[in-house]
Subunit: 415 residues, 2 copies
Amino acid sequence: MPGVPESKSPTVYDVARQAEVSIATVSRVLRRPDKVAAATRERVMAAVQQLGYVPNASARGLAGRRTGVLGLLIPGHDLPATSDREDARTATGEVAFIDDRDGSAADPYRNRYFEQLVRGAEAAAWREGYALMVAAGRDMGREVVMHDLAGRVDGLAAVSRTVPDELLRTSIGRTPLVLVAGHSTADGDGADGGSEGADGTEGAAEIDGADGAVDGVGPRGAVGTTADAVRVDNRGGMRALVEHVLAVKPPGPVLYLAGPPDSPDAAGRAAGFRDAIGGDGAGSDGGTGRDGTSWSEALGDFTWQGGHDAVAAHLEQDTPAAVIAANDQSALGALAALREGGVDVPGTCVVTGFDGIDESRWSTPALTTVRQPMLDLGVRAVELLLRRIADPGAPSTELLLPVDVLLRHSCGPHR
Amino acid sequence: MPGVPESKSPTVYDVARQAEVSIATVSRVLRRPDKVAAATRERVMAAVQQLGYVPNASARGLAGRRTGVLGLLIPGHDLPATSDREDARTATGEVAFIDDRDGSAADPYRNRYFEQLVRGAEAAAWREGYALMVAAGRDMGREVVMHDLAGRVDGLAAVSRTVPDELLRTSIGRTPLVLVAGHSTADGDGADGGSEGADGTEGAAEIDGADGAVDGVGPRGAVGTTADAVRVDNRGGMRALVEHVLAVKPPGPVLYLAGPPDSPDAAGRAAGFRDAIGGDGAGSDGGTGRDGTSWSEALGDFTWQGGHDAVAAHLEQDTPAAVIAANDQSALGALAALREGGVDVPGTCVVTGFDGIDESRWSTPALTTVRQPMLDLGVRAVELLLRRIADPGAPSTELLLPVDVLLRHSCGPHR
DNA sequence: CTGAAAGCGCTTACAG
DNA sequence: CTGAAAGCGCTTACAG
């Protein structure tokens, strides 16, 4: 292969020499082909082909002051320990047999909630000519990951509460940032308090002190800077769902199975419930709705067990005609408690969830729920980020995405 | 905020000035802290903190001749058209109601098959100090994506047949490459022919002409270069599964529901079936196994419909005591055909699949199947890639990962 | 339409 | 242990 360097990648200089032009022209052909004479362009392209030239993204990023990469930070778990993954077998032909009649062999480490988000963001980014770099916040070293990411990208979309606001502030520096609605999925991560208005107003996200990176320990800045954000209409979705339930449920009282008090998602959904039920009792834990329906509230924690236990306890005093759960997992727990209590769903009592997780499709009966537009969330986050990058000084935007109600068997016939 | 530049990100020079050291020392503190005196190190770290310094990854990549990024190329679909995503509503409070009693509202664009792969690769990459950049091959512009990716990463893992080998060769240039086992999921993508031995030998993957980038059109190089590869033990998994089935199935003939002839996965699984059934007839489409079991083969195409139709047609002549399908989707189709034909599963006939897709858990009866270690596939691909990057001249490696058999109700009681 | 030249922000031998 | 200097491979005004 005469004249072709085997070991080293060709550079603009190699291409320029081969095409007998300057490196400026090579660059122009690659970036703004219309600015170059057709004949020259073809010579250069031929040289590019021949040499198998691939532009070095680092050099591009450095010279052009943009990386062409967007970052996405999502919650995530660490890998299962190697010993769990590998078992003892590595050789071919050793096959493990697993009794999975209960379906429990599904990977517990899987976090499906954000897969769609990633897909949406990824597609939108490439469509706009950006690559997407995804990082799942590890329990260990989130700051490291953040920091690392911040230096690699032109902008960062972060799922709310993936990292502490403090970290966002100091790590990100001047990197454009978009906050993406949090998640209601209970995931051991605990702290679900954060940037959304706890009253369900879902106000703009605030990052305090984003103005100064000088003092990392002093009092938070009095004037918070507002970041762009994309959220999901928790409140409107729950309102619509509950209005539907009130129209179709059997006569009798309603039980609202709430989420944890410190979750903004839970707060938004609770507000939607109150919007729909109306009447007195707003703010308290029970009352009579505007249509005369009597209702009460039980406290869940977004987990299956929490939902199960709360409903089981409630059943000892009363049998509801509807259980409105703040999320799917607790609704699934409620379903189990009702079954154990001999309550027919949806005949005697209808049940609804919120989130649209896979399990909601496969429960018996299948769960009526509100699906969050995770794909769109990703797309919008990228769009917002791009806007912010294009105009760093623009006023901050907050998008509230509409949701879908998925009608399934758990809320009975659809009159 | 006196002395703090608001608009421009601080560089090593700013840090050096603040800490009263040279930029070389700043760099050293960040990369090899042990090589710097403790006092100096602390001064520099303080300056880094104060200025909110974030290293520029492009500059690092350029100077250090490595990007610290690994690429992963997976098959993928484009985003649904905007009109499909957005509907007419954007305002809050507009909620769509969707009748999902049949569970069909699941996102058809979703490709779950690779989500685990990505997770495994992502986690492994970060663990090793690399970031991961994922690109889903778009129908349009795969080459563009590939090319773009190649310039951004230190190495690339590509799912087999995501892009044509030709493209791999010319686009990737000198970027280290690892091939990851293909997929058997029928996905409209069609061409499933490729790098695995069609006889089930699953030999090393060959990329022809990887030696020269000079001639993009001439005859393929006579000596193919072998790329590293990670594969899944299709053959061993199917063999183990079938041995189990032979032990538990009701008396009667076996039907092997094969995959498309041009699929290497299908070939590997078919080979595993023949290993297990033994006896004569190897290579033909039926015969008598070594234990006297009579068997025949029907051709499927990895789709539900293909499996359904093939089995429905078969039922007109014979009722099998076991249907071994080459993948889950066709097994699910087979299940439906058997139900329509009034054949009791697993009482009269047992059924098995291959892949471990979600739907296999939720079918009635739940499907016994072989689960591919997708998470591990991602982890191993990254490990192999890192090894290759560390030693470009090393002989190529091929890993064959063991699989799990998931025993569920479709193959009856487990004696 | 094209070229010469500066510069993007780091890392890394090489001296000392 | 620390600093001066070269250089990584591009892009982008600025001239012409």
